[in-house]
């Protein structure tokens, strides 16, 4: 262990639910994105699922909202080391979208892409079984543009860069294909509990 002389750090309060290397950001919600925040009106938003599916499909705002609503209440964790406890997102479970397109048995991974052209990859098992959402609201209010509004992907059990802002679609694949940050050295999966920050972690 390489102890840094004179470094004690903040008093440590054990916070159950806080993954290693993370701190509780409290009411703060830092914004991290490499691109210009797009002006994307709900009327211009669409969400498509294609690739290895029986029936590719595109939903517009009304069609997506016609699906059964689903809420996520829990925590989120960003790779830059802040976590946010007890957040509440409203949206639609990804399972509802996937049920409509029927993934082929060969589909194992997905690339999520946003309306800005941003991409991120995920194993399909991280998107199914009530683990992922298309989120439209936060704390009962429309999702702010800088946080991915009008709609973002939400995969709260992985580092938050996987929860692509301004989500435009998912392409299902039979292999893993690195997305934007993953091509920049970040981890393929990004499990906060295993501190999978960079490739090789």
């Amino acid at each position: 262990m390489n102890v840094t002389r004179g470094f004690t750090g903040r008093p440590r309060v054990h916070r159950p639910g806080l993954p290693p290397g993370q701190y509780d950001a409290g009411d703060d919600w830092p914004v991290l994105s490499a691109e210009v925040t797009p002006d994307l009106a709900p009327a211009d938003w669409t969400f498509r699922v294609d690739g290895l599916v029986e029936e590719p499909r595109t939903w517009n705002w009304e069609q997506a909202h016609a699906l059964p609503g689903s809420v996520y209440e829990g925590d989120i964790h960003c790779v830059t080391s802040w976590s946010k406890f007890g957040v509440r997102f409203g949206g639609v479970s990804l399972d509802a979208f996937l049920a409509a397109v029927r993934p082929l048995p060969t589909a194992t991974h997905a690339v999520a892409y946003s309306h800005t052209g941003y991409t991120t990859n995920l194993p399909l098992t991280d998107l199914t079984g009530g683990k992922a959402w298309i989120a439209f609201s936060h704390d009962g209010r429309p999702l702010a543009p800088e946080h991915g509004g009008p709609a973002r992907l939400l995969v709260p059990h992985l580092y938050f860069w996987k929860s692509a802002k301004w989500i435009a679609g998912l392409k299902l694949l039979d292999h893993d294909e690195p997305g934007f940050w993953e091509q920049n050295g970040y981890h393929a999966r990004g499990n906060p509990w295993e501190e999978q920050r960079y490739s090789g972690d």
């Binding site: 262990m1 390489n2 102890v3 840094t4 002389r5 004179g6 470094f7 004690t8 750090g9 903040r10 440590r12 290397g21 830092p30 914004v31 991290l32 994105s33 490499a34 691109e35 210009v36 925040t37 797009p38 994307l40 211009d44 498509r48 294609d50 690739g51 290895l52 599916v53 029986e54 590719p56 830059t80 080391s81 802040w82 082929l104 892409y113 946003s114 309306h115 800005t116 052209g117 941003y118 800088e146 435009a168 679609g169 392409k171 934007f180 940050w181 091509q183 920049n184 050295g185 960079y198 490739s199 090789g200 972690d201």
Partner: protein, 252 residues
């Protein structure tokens, strides 16, 4: 099965334009502090010996961690301030964040000979190898990765046009003030030298620079707090800079 290629309605600068190494991204190595230089009352530059540094492209950052006696670790990202060279040294410039865990240690405790751990460089998205005309816009410590670009430009005698707009609260808080040349326009938000207006970076600062864009246009690099990055990138878009030629680094 149908395959369609998605064309984003708003384009976004693509990664991979610039080849960077991720060789150092998962190897922690010891960095030994060799020198501390005060820049402003709130910011100082820390020079480290990192003998096995794999090199970086201006604009890249690293991950730094401090370890306490009980094993507790704090890790943060810091942009490389120095230009790439083969000196076996790198420089970081840190703002003193009130109550900050890591910057607090650097500004209150650190002295030459101290050792910390770094890994990197990481991320190539914000990198600028000196290939395209660059319009750099930063505020506060957001000027750090941009200074690496300016220094690289000078050290290599690059002919490609380079302009820097840097925002600071006051002349006293302008990091690297002594080093700027004709490429730089400082903008002061709270107090300015007599005769210089006080205010945020505005369309009036950008329009002349965009009007005199070199052939092929500028590659814009925006760095600072999120609030600044939002403000500056929206101004750029409004002034006609293409969205896919704007790269943003937000310090959180």
């Amino acid at each position: 099965m149908t395959e369609t290629t998605f064309t984003p309605p708003t384009r976004f600068a693509i990664p991979g334009r610039i080849a960077v190494t991720h060789q150092g991204a998962n190897v922690w190595q010891t960095a030994t502090l060799t020198e501390i230089r005060r820049e402003t009352p709130r910011a100082a530059t820390f020079r480290f010996a990192v003998p096995a540094w794999v090199g970086h492209v201006p604009g890249q950052h690293l991950q730094l961690r401090l370890t306490a006696e009980d094993g507790y670790r704090a890790q943060r990202h810091y942009s490389l301030a120095s230009a790439p060279d083969d000196s076996g040294h790198i420089e970081l410039t840190l703002d003193h964040v009130e109550g900050g865990e890591v910057s607090g240690w650097f500004h209150g405790e650190a002295r030459p000979g101290d050792r910390v751990e770094v890994r990197g460089p990481v991320s190539g998205f914000f990198a600028w190898p000196g290939d395209r005309p660059a319009l750099l816009i930063g505020a506060g410590s957001g000027v750090v990765p941009l200074m690496s670009m300016v220094r690289h430009h000078r050290a290599r005698g690059l002919g490609v046009p380079l302009r820097l707009l840097v925002s600071a609260r006051s002349p006293e808080e302008l990091i690297y003030a002594r080093e700027y040349g004709a490429e730089t326009t400082p903008v002061f938000t709270r107090s300015a030298p007599p005769g210089t207006p006080v205010g945020r970076i505005a369309a009036a600062h950008l329009e002349p620079v965009l009007a005199e864009a070199p052939p092929g246009g500028w590659e814009a690099y925006v760095c600072g707090s999120n609030a600044f990055a939002e403000h500056a990138s929206r101004l750029l878009v409004a002034a006609g800079q293409p969205v896919d030629r704007i790269r943003i680094e937000r310090f959180g």
